[in-house]
Every structure is written in C-alpha cells, then in structure tokens.
C-alpha cells in the first residue's frame, strides 16, 4: 500500500536535511519507536510498538538508509521489522524529498508499505489507516522537534 504525507516546515532546507539524516533522532518522531541503535554503516536496529486496541505489536527490525542525495534533496530508507509472537511483520520503503515551498520547505514522504503474515490478516484497510495516522504524527513531531531547536526561525 502506498502512503503519501506532505507537510510544510518553516526551516532551512539544510537544517531539515541534517535532521532527517540523523536516523536515531528522526526515528524518535515516530510514535512508538524505542531503542534505536546503530547496527553497521547506515543501518540501525530498533523496535516499533504499535497498538490497535487489544492488539499490541512489538516490531523489531532494522532501518537502512539506502540513498542520500543531498544535491537532489532526496533520501530513501528501508525498514524491515517483525513481531515474532504474532508471526508477521512490515516492510516499508520510504523516500523523503525536500522541495522549496512559499512558506518554507515541503517535506514529502512517500511510503510503500507491505504488511506481512498474521498481522496482515488482521485487516489491511485498518492497518493502512493506522500507518497513515503514524505518518501524520511523524510530521507533527518533526515540526515540533525542529521548533524546539534553538536555531528555529518559526
């Protein structure tokens, strides 16, 4: 399933870029992410906790920064995580693009998400909705994180 999240942030492109390339920091903007740690070059290990009512998933896996094109202001990362208890997981490829916008920088995050195994059986439509919600919260948190930073112009 494909998800697109757009948000406009009133920061310099460079600053936003540097923030986004700091994977452990940016990952904390996704609600439910815990304990992100490096696991090799451009690779990180971590856990994403997701709750949908009684269903609580602890998706443990890796995030790999696959592409960093600072000239083209585009990056891509790949996330693979599984919940062994349930016997399922997610695969996501996310691309982030930064483009100038009248009131700041537009951050466009495109996610191609696959929900695998038992978790997928729970109901793809609902999971899509949840993932969409997660990405929205992510955008809000990024904005907040940058806003808190001292050099913010907001």
């Amino acid at each position: 399933m494909k998800l697109v999240q757009r948000s406009i942030l009133a920061v310099e492109r460079e600053r936003l870029w540097d923030f986004l390339m700091d994977v452990p920091r940016v990952a904390r903007c996704i609600p439910g992410v815990e304990a992100i740690e490096p696991a090799g070059e451009n690779r990180y290990r971590g856990v994403l906790n997701v709750q949908i009512g009684p269903v609580r998933l602890a998706l443990g896996g890796t995030v790999t920064l696959e592409e960093q094109d600072r000239n083209g202001w585009q990056a891509a990362l790949r996330a693979e995580a599984d919940d062994r208890g349930a016997g399922g997981g997610i695969r996501a490829r996310m691309t982030a693009r930064l483009a100038p916008a009248p009131t700041g920088i537009e951050l466009v995050v495109e996610t191609d998400l696959a929900v695998l195994g038992k978790i997928g059986e729970f109901g793809q439509p609902l999971i899509k909705k949840k993932a969409d919600g997660l990405m929205q919260a992510f955008a809000v948190n990024v904005r907040a994180a940058l806003g808190r930073a001292p050099s913010s112009r907001e």
């Binding site: 399933m1 695998l116 195994g117 997928g120 059986e121 793809q124 439509p125």
Partner: protein, 857 residues
C-alpha cells in the same frame, strides 16, 4: 411442495403424476384365485412391499384378468423381465417380483408375481394399501384400469442418497477426521512476499520448541517439481518464492498448537524481487519473468510467445477478418471477472502414514485418486504400487480438489519422524494459497449483418494463472473458456485466443465449469448489448442466431438433436419474459451449453452370498450423488431393489486406473462402466452362473465429445434500489435440456447448488488483493451466499432420450452456474439502464454508474 414454497420443479410433479414409463392395461375383476394372498401372508414379503412401494399392503389381493388379448404378449414380456425382484431370505421359500402400479389412476398399488404360480398368466394380482373391492365398489366382471410402471423402475426415481445416513449422523469420516495412533500435526511456513529470493532459513528456535519433531526445507527434499499436468511447482520453495502463501518450510509437531508456534519461530530472510500482478503487464517486454525457462517444464505447452505465458489456445473457423470487414456493424466490449474461491467448506486435509510394509497410506480429499497416485509416485520418487490412496468422502470439490496439495509434505514429514502426519489447512490458508478460479479479462468483437445475424467474432481472453500452472489438469494447461467464446450461436467466422499468464499471485486452478462462468458472462452480456444497440429484443436476437439441428457451433463443432430453441422458449415462458414490469424491476436472459465429459472409468460388481450386490467404484464421493445414481443403474439393470445394492469406493489398489471426478464426466463415463458391469452380471446370471460370490467388471472410456450437448437458459428478475444501487434478485428461472434424469433429487440438487454458486460469482464473490496479497482472508470478508440469498427459483426440465450417458442421461453438474451472472447483469440493465462489465455486480458499481448518468432512466 406447497404454495409457500415459491421454488418449484416441474419435472418432479410430472413424475409423481405419472409419466412415460407407465403402461396402460385393462382387466376384469374375478375371484377365486388366491395364490398372491398366501404369498402376502409371508412377513418378509410384506416388509419388502412396505420398503419398495412405501405402503402397508392390505392382506388380500384383487385378481384381474386382462381383457385386451392384444396386450397379452406385452404383459407376458413384463412378467418375465420387469419389476423388482422379491428375493426370499432363505433358499427354501420362493421369490417373486413386484411391479408398481396405479389403480384407476389414483390408488398406488403393486402387481405381485410369485415365482411359482399355478394359474393362467393373464391374471394379475394387485395389492394395495386398501381393500380395492370396497374402495372402488367392484364386483366380479367389473372393468378396472391399471397403469403399470414397466421400464426404469429405479432409474428416474428420487431415490435418497446412498450415504445419507452416515452424513446426517456425523459418522462419515472425512480426511481431517482420520485418527491414527501417534499422529503428528504438520503445518506449513508460507511466504509473506510475492516474489523474492530466499537468502537464509533459520529454524533453530523452532527446533528447540518442545514437541517439534521435524522441520523440512527445500534442502531436505529431492528437487522434484509437481503438477496435475504441467510440472512447474516445487514441493517447498527452492531459492525463490513466487507468491504470497507459497510453502517455504514444513513442520511436524505433537499438537497443532505447537506446530503453529514453530511456524512463527522459523525465520526466513528474503531479498525482494520485482513482482508483477496484472496479467496484461506480465505480457509486456519489461515484465519480471517468473520462470526462467517455463517451456522446459515437463508437460509445458510448446507455444510460448512470452516467457510469462503458461499456455495459449486458439480456435479458428472461416475468415474472421473478412467476416468483420463485411459486417454491417461491429461491436467490441471488454469484461473482467475477479479471482474467486470454490468455497467448499472442507479445507483441504491430508493424512499420510508409512506402514510396516513401507507402503505409503494416504487419506486426502482428492477427487482423482488414481491420478493422484501417479502424481505422488513421481513427486515422492516411489513406485506407484508403494502408494495407496484410501477413500474418504470429500467435503465439497467444485473443481478445487485435484492437486496433491500437502500430501508430499506430509509424506516427507512422516518419513522424517517415523510417525503418521496430518495436515489440515485453515480457511485463511485456503483463501491465501488454495487454487482459485482464474481472474479474466475478455474482449469480444462481433460483426453483425443487416438482418441481425452474427457473421463473425474474434475473442481474446486473458486468464491470470498465478505463479504456477501446476493446479490445472487439462492437457494444454488451458481453460475451457476460449472455445465458449462463440456461445450457443451459429457464427461462421470465428477466432478465439485464450492465454493463461504467470503472475506473482496465488496459482489459479479449476473451479466448477472452469473458465466458463467468466466467458459466458462476457458472451451473454455482449449478446445483450448488441441486441440493444440494434434495437432488437434480446430474446429475438438470440432466436435469430441460435445454433440449430445439424449446424455448427462457432468452433466448427457440428451438433445434432439440438434443443437450444426449446430451452430458450421454456425459460422465457416460465420467466414471464413479456409481462409488464414495475419501475426499477428488470429481466435478463442468458444461455449456455456444455458437453458431457470424457475419460475412463472402471466398475466392479459382486453378487454376495447374502444376496446383496456390491458395487466397487473408483469414483470418490464428492457429494454430487454419483453413488446413488450408480446404485440406481445397478438396481435397474439387475432388477433388484436399490437398497440391495451396496456402493463402496475402492482404494487405488482396487483398480488399475480411473479418471476420477471432474469435467461433468461421472454420470456419463463412470455411469456407463457401472451399467456395463451390471449388464455383464445379468448375462452371467442368465447363462445360469450361480456360483456366489459372482463378480463382473467393466471399463468404459470415451475420448470423443460427440454431437450432443446440453443447453441451459436462464431468466433473472431483479429490482434495483436507485438510491443505493443495491440489487435484489427477485426470482430466477433455469431451464435445462437434460436428457434423461436418473435421479431427480440429485439432479435438482446440482442445478440449485450450481445456480447459487453462479449467484455468488455474480453478486459478491471476489478475492481482493493488494500487491499480490489476498485481502479477503476469511469467510467473514469473502462472502458466500447464505439462505436468504437463494432467490425464488423455477426450474424447467426438458427431458428426453438423447444424452450420451447411460439411460440417455446428460451432464448437469456444471450447467447452471455459468449463465447466472450475465442474466443478472442483463436484468440490471433492463431495470435501470446501467451496464456493468466487471464482476461482481456490486451495489457500489451500480450506484456510481447511476450517479455518473444522473439517476435512473
């Protein structure tokens, strides 16, 4: 059935009020002779009458002397051959014979013929539940009219199902019910990805789980490929997975819970490969290739214009290009149908035990056990004598249960553990990795002349075959759909191309009337659309173009004894085609035809010392009622009461080969085998061969379709809610050119079941998928019709004696499913002017179509 029941069956009523097998005799009442009365005094005779005739006999007979001397020779013939034998319980008593009859057209009775009689043979003794002299006020010399059931005393009657009692009491043991000592449970790890390389499988955690007895991956198995015809599928994915749900590893454990847990603990690392899900995209130059060299697979068709083609099938007659050029008008429409599951309620189950002698004992819901044995021999690399498929009833097949499925895995798990292994799929697995009906994209292009005659048609059908062709049994791995592109019409110039395509989706397989509901939906919608464009009533347009006696179908197949027109007219009449309609109500029409199936079958009969006749058939019980029909055939030929015939299914040791169930073959092919075995026995008995047990055996094989087909015409009446688009099917009419109906209960059951499956395909059944992942993974999301969806139904049976089966039977199992969707789609158009070209015909589709047109007309 009473008036409350809007569903009625004309054939039933006709049968009960008399019919062609009743012969008229007239006699004069006389008194004095009372041989029969003595006979009736015997308890076993009374019991037999009760059983056969269904009444308690009045203890006394009415003696009648035939009046018409000309009728005497016929009566003597009947005395000798006809009726049901009354076989005594011991050899000291004398037997006799019963002929069911009606007295004065209303009182059920039997004519009793004791084996030894002293009196003249023109005297009949009639037994009824009442004292006939009193009830009819008869005196000696009075005339009495008798209708005697002569031929087909058993065939054609609504005999209840042979195995009914086991089924209603829960005693019938299906594959999943097989319990063996030391049984382990097997489960499969399935691929979560549609197309990927397998990098690593680690099973340490699973292996460490208490109760786990074996874990197998492709590395533990021989590199064999399996398939019903084309061998393109590994037992477990080797290096690469090609669809979500493909087996990657197998586990055996002490309980199913532990096996399930182990499955979750097995870690498989994959590397994604580009995947393709759309069959049209799969045929482009850039498409990912699923199988590097599919042409090299055993059983693969030679023609392969693109590496992702599973099979391609063409029909060509005349000069379609010229035909289209010369046509007054040309119409082209494209239709789509979705992936659909057979919906049987018994998920596939397999049990394998390797016995002390090293033989592989198999219990599985497979409808073609003898072919399964051959498939297994190759898959397991064993001589076929080492494999024995034990018969079990099958909880619904509808085309889906012909593949070896989990049996090879269960075998390897049994071998690895030294214990028997049971594998039962959950319904989620059925929906994810069963063998659903092929989704299709069908384009029809038809040229019509100025008088409304179809002169030419080209058809292109793309069937999404999924990741493997292994589930298809046809020699060319194709579907039947292509050759039905001409429908029931006379089309001189015709070309059809049907292509099955590899995609990264669950492999498609056969489903009741493979390919045909898809194609008939397209053909019969297209037919209606042309009729409307031409301003001709859809029934008239069909009348103009229906294939006639001695004419050829579009494929060039010549037909005889064609009843297309009669079938159409019967449906129109029963469906009140011309009656006025309320607003938002519409009627639609659709037709189809189908030949009875081909193949080979065997049957063995044993007359046992206790007088029972045991039929041993190779045909498993899939619920169609085949065994009951076989019982009737044997009873008819041998003139014994049907309950004297015991039907049992032989395991695969019992015969050399048999084509099994499928393709509307059973009554025609296996029925003939049974008929031949019974006739052989009758001849043996006639020769005076009385050494019991007496055994006969017969084989029947047919490879030519022949010139007789069966037609079906249906009328649907629907009501559309213009605010929601919701379609309610108000009633259905289904008319069948049925040949001779051997068992009206079973025959009607096939019609009704097929019709409701057709309604499911028309209205709701569609497997959703996103990126190759089936999204309707339970029967809560994938809906099958329920009691309230069965519309009021009128069935019209046109019976006659022209079928290719025994007693002139035709095929029925795959007849009623195919026209339903088109009949309903055409009715929706008639009701609200909306033309739907994609199945299912959802309320949502109708709603948005109405919206875009700005309301109903």
């Amino acid at each position: 059935m009473d008036a409350r029941h809007s569903h009625r069956t004309r054939a039933h009523a006709e049968r009960l009020t008399g019919g062609e097998s009743l012969e008229q005799f007239e006699g004069a009442v006389l008194s004095g002779v009372n041989e029969g009365a003595h006979f009736l005094g015997l308890g076993w005779v009374r019991d037999a009458i009760r059983r056969i005739a269904g009444f308690d006999p009045f203890p006394g007979t009415l003696n009648v002397r035939l009046v018409d001397r000309d009728a005497l020779p016929r009566w003597r013939e009947l005395r000798r051959d006809a009726g049901l034998s009354l076989t005594p319980p011991d050899t000291h008593s004398c037997g006799g014979r019963l002929l069911p009859a009606l007295v004065e057209g209303r009182i059920p009775a039997v004519v009793v013929i004791p084996e030894v009689t002293r009196y003249e043979d023109e005297v009949l003794e009639v037994v009824a539940p009442v004292r006939l002299r009193t009830v009819l006020g008869l005196r000696d010399g009075d005339r009495v009219r008798l209708e005697i059931a002569t031929r087909h005393v058993v065939v054609g009657k609504p005999i209840p199902r042979v195995e009914g009692s086991e089924k209603v009491t829960g005693q019938a043991r299906y594959a999943a019910d097989v319990r063996l000592p030391d049984l382990l449970w097997g489960k499969v790890v399935r691929s979560p990805l549609p197309h990927a390389r397998i990098l690593r499988i680690s099973a340490e955690k699973a292996r460490a789980l208490p109760g786990v007895r074996a874990i197998l991956t492709a590395d533990d198995l021989p590199p064999v490929l399996v398939g019903r015809r084309m061998l393109d599928m590994p037992l477990l994915a080797r290096d690469r997975v090609r669809f979500v749900g493909e087996p990657v590893a197998a586990v055996a454990a002490e309980t199913s819970d532990v096996a399930e847990e182990a499955v979750a603990l097995i870690e498989v690392e994959y590397e994604d490969l580009p995947a393709v899900f759309d069959p049209l995209e799969a045929l482009t130059a850039e498409a990912p290739i699923l199988h590097r060299d599919a042409g090299a697979y055993e059983g693969a068709p030679k023609e392969r214009p693109h590496p992702n083609v599973q099979s391609i099938q063409r029909h060509r007659e005349g000069d379609p290009e010229r035909g289209l050029r010369q046509a007054a008008r040309v119409f082209e429409h494209t239709f789509r149908t979705p992936r659909a599951h057979q919906g049987y309620l018994e998920p596939r189950a397999s049990v394998v035990r390797i016995d002390e002698a090293g033989r592989v004992q198999v219990w599985t819901c497979n409808k073609t056990p003898f072919r399964l044995k051959e498939q297994l021999a190759r898959a397991l690399e064993l001589p076929s004598e080492r494999i024995r498929i034990n018969p079990v009833p099958i909880g619904g097949d509808f085309g889906g249960k012909g593949f070896s499925t989990d049996v090879p895995l269960a075998y390897h798990l049994a071998r690895a553990t030294g214990r028997p292994v049971k594998m039962v799929m959950g319904y989620t697995e059925e929906l994810m990795a069963g063998c659903p009906r092929h989704p299709s994209i069908i384009t029809l292009r038809t040229g019509v002349d100025a008088e409304g005659h179809i002169v030419a048609r080209t058809a292109r059908a793309i069937f999404d075959g999924g990741a493997y062709a292994a589930f298809k049994p046809r020699p060319n791995v194709d579907l039947h759909g292509g050759h039905q592109a001409g429908g029931v019409y006379r089309i001189p110039h015709f070309e059809a191309e049907s292509v099955c395509v590899y995609t990264n989706s669950v492999p498609s397989g056969h489903a009741r009337s493979p390919g045909e509901p898809q194609m008939i939906f397209a053909v019969e919608s297209h037919t209606d659309m042309i009729a409307h464009e031409l301003g001709i009533d859809p029934a008239d347009f069909r009348r103009r173009n229906l294939v006639g006696d001695g004419e050829r179908l579009a494929t060039g197949h010549r037909l005889e004894r064609v009843k297309a027109r009669e079938t159409l007219e019967a449906a129109l009449e029963a469906g009140d085609w011309r009656a006025p309609r309320r607003p938002h109500v519409g009627r639609g029409l659709a037709m189809s035809h189908r030949f009875a199936g081909l193949g080979d079958a065997r049957a063995r009969l044993r007359l046992e010392t206790d007088g029972t006749v045991r039929l041993i058939t190779a045909i498993p019980d899939t619920g169609t009622g085949a065994h009951t029909v076989f019982r009737q055939i044997v009873a008819e030929v041998l003139e014994v009461p049907p309950d004297r015939v015991v039907v049992s299914v032989g395991d695969t040791d019992a015969f050399e080969s048999d084509a099994g169930v499928g393709g509307s073959r059973v009554t025609r092919v296996a029925g003939h085998a049974v008929d031949r075995a019974a006739r052989a026995m009758r001849e043996a008995l006639a020769r005076g061969d009385r050494t019991l047990p007496l055994q006969t055996e017969a084989r029947f094989s047919v490879n030519e379709t022949g010139t007789v087909t069966s037609f079906c015409a249906q009328v649907a009446e629907v009501e559309v809610d213009p605010e929601t688009g919701c379609v309610k099917v108000l009633r259905m009419v289904t008319a069948h050119d049925a040949g001779r109906v051997l068992n009206p209960i079973g025959h009607q059951g096939q019609i009704e079941g097929g019709l409701l499956q057709g309604l499911g395909l028309a209205m709701m059944e569609a497997m959703g998928a996103e990126d190759g992942r089936i999204s309707t993974l339970s029967l809560g999301d994938y809906k099958l019709p329920v009691t309230k969806d069965a519309p009021p139904l009128t069935t019209v049976i046109l019976e006659d004696s022209v079928g290719p089966g025994p007693f002139q039977a035709k095929a029925i199992g795959e007849m009623s499913i195919s026209p339903v969707a088109a009949a309903i789609a055409n009715a929706i158009f008639d009701a609200c002017g909306v033309r739907l070209r994609d199945l299912p015909l959802t309320a949502e589709q109708v709603f948005f179509a109405l919206q875009s047109r700005g309301g109903t007309r």
